[in-house]
């Protein structure tokens, strides 16, 4: 069974000295610089074995000038989950380390977050647009994106 978030938080802080996490509505807020260490620990530690990244997406908060990247982790080995991780990034310069080296399945999801939100994933093997075409300008899921033809008939 998966321990409650408070226990995961204290276990991680014990295992990784210098890492500090915050609890937020059942999720763990990670400092961007600690993300790779936390993810690797959650995947490789026998207690968690979170070997499956089910979801990776971004959330835009223009009012707070913030861009969150959210990770949902499950364990296929232990049949438990999810564990939610969040990193809070600067909306004007959203850069975070890629988790593709940890979970291979992150590759396309990070490309999607890059395509639609403009989050740059450092260390991604092939970071380019996945849904929109090459030559498309802007990131359409950002809340300040203006659609070209707003007119009803235009």
């Amino acid at each position: 069974m998966l321990p409650p978030p408070e226990e995961i938080k204290s276990a991680l802080e014990q295992l990784l000295p210098g890492v500090s996490l915050t609890l937020d509505a059942g999720g763990l807020i990670v400092v961007p610089n600690d993300l790779v260490a936390v993810c690797r620990c959650l995947k490789e530690n026998e207690r968690f074995s979170l070997d499956y990244l089910a979801n990776l997406t971004a959330v835009d908060y223009p009012a707070e000038q913030r861009m969150d990247v959210v990770y949902h982790l499950y364990s296929m080995a232990k049949k438990h989950g999810p564990v939610t991780l969040k990193v809070k990034l600067d909306r004007n310069q959203p850069v975070v380390a890629s988790v593709t080296p940890i979970w291979r399945g992150a590759e396309f999801q990070e490309r999607e977050a890059y395509d639609l939100f403009g989050v740059r994933f450092e260390g991604h093997p092939d970071l380019r647009r996945i849904l929109m075409w090459e030559g498309f300008e802007g990131h359409p899921m950002r809340k300040d994106y203006v659609v070209e033809d707003q007119d009803v008939l235009g």
Binding site: L131, M132, W133, E134, G135, F136, E137, G138, P140, Y145, V147, E148, D149, Q150, D151, V152, L153, G154
Partner: protein, 230 residues
């Protein structure tokens, strides 16, 4: 069904009368002689063996498949032969949401079809973008790039609605005379390209003119805005 057979277009009735007197025709028929006109014969064959393109885009395609299956049985209308190649198809049923990324391929498929060719726009998405009308990634109607013969409303339209649309198309084909075009001009249409913020051009002016179907009332006739309550 019955009302459709009686309610034929005036063009057909006119030609029918010209060909041979109706009473004489019925007399001849009793003797085993069937009299018709070349136009009628050709259109009879043409309208009852429309081969649609085996092509679907979204949930409307599921309804299209249901229409082709045994319960609704599109074979009753001679259209059961869904061809997997546009070269062998007469009709493209644009069944579903046309994303901007898919639109060039739909136009290309239409261009590759042999004439005479027809287009049914099935459902709200193919007709106008439907619930995705204000989105960034969905084409606001396939009629921006290719000429549409029949629009079918619905989200998705029922199989009955698709069959009704098919019967409307058959009516249209039956009203065609040799060498005469009914409906929009066929042929090849330019394929849109991917631009910086959408497709370029945004529509083909040969098939689509963004016109307001209504006239804006003068400002004096507009209702006065209600003053906000303190």
């Amino acid at each position: 069904m019955a009302s459709h057979i009686q309610h034929q277009s005036p063009i057909i009735q006119h030609r029918f009368e010209m060909a041979v007197d109706q009473g004489l025709q019925s007399e001849l028929q009793k003797q085993g002689v069937f009299v018709t006109s070349w136009d009628q014969l050709l259109n009879w064959g043409r309208s009852n063996s429309i081969w649609p393109l085996q092509f679907g885009l979204a949930c409307c395609a599921i309804e299209m498949i249901a229409t082709a299956a045994s319960r609704y049985d599109i074979a009753r209308f001679g259209s059961e032969i869904f061809r997997a190649s546009p070269r062998q198809a007469d009709l493209i049923i644009v069944a579903g949401t046309v994303t901007k990324k898919m639109a060039p391929q739909v136009v290309r498929l239409y261009n590759q079809m042999a004439e005479p060719k027809y287009v049914i726009s099935m459902g709200a998405c193919a007709t106008s973008g439907g619930p995705f009308h204000t989105g960034y990634n969905v084409l606001k109607g396939i009629d921006r790039y290719i000429p549409v013969d029949v629009y079918i409303p619905g989200c998705p339209p029922t199989p009955q609605a698709l069959l009704e649309g098919l019967m409307r198309l058959q009516e249209r084909i039956k009203s065609r005379s040799m060498g005469q075009e009914v409906g929009p001009k066929q042929g090849e249409y330019p394929i849109p390209e991917f631009g910086a913020s959408g497709l370029a051009p945004r529509y083909n002016p040969d098939v689509f003119q963004p016109k307001k179907p209504w006239a804006d009332p003068p400002a004096s006739q507009l209702p006065k805005p209600i003053a906000p309550q303190p």
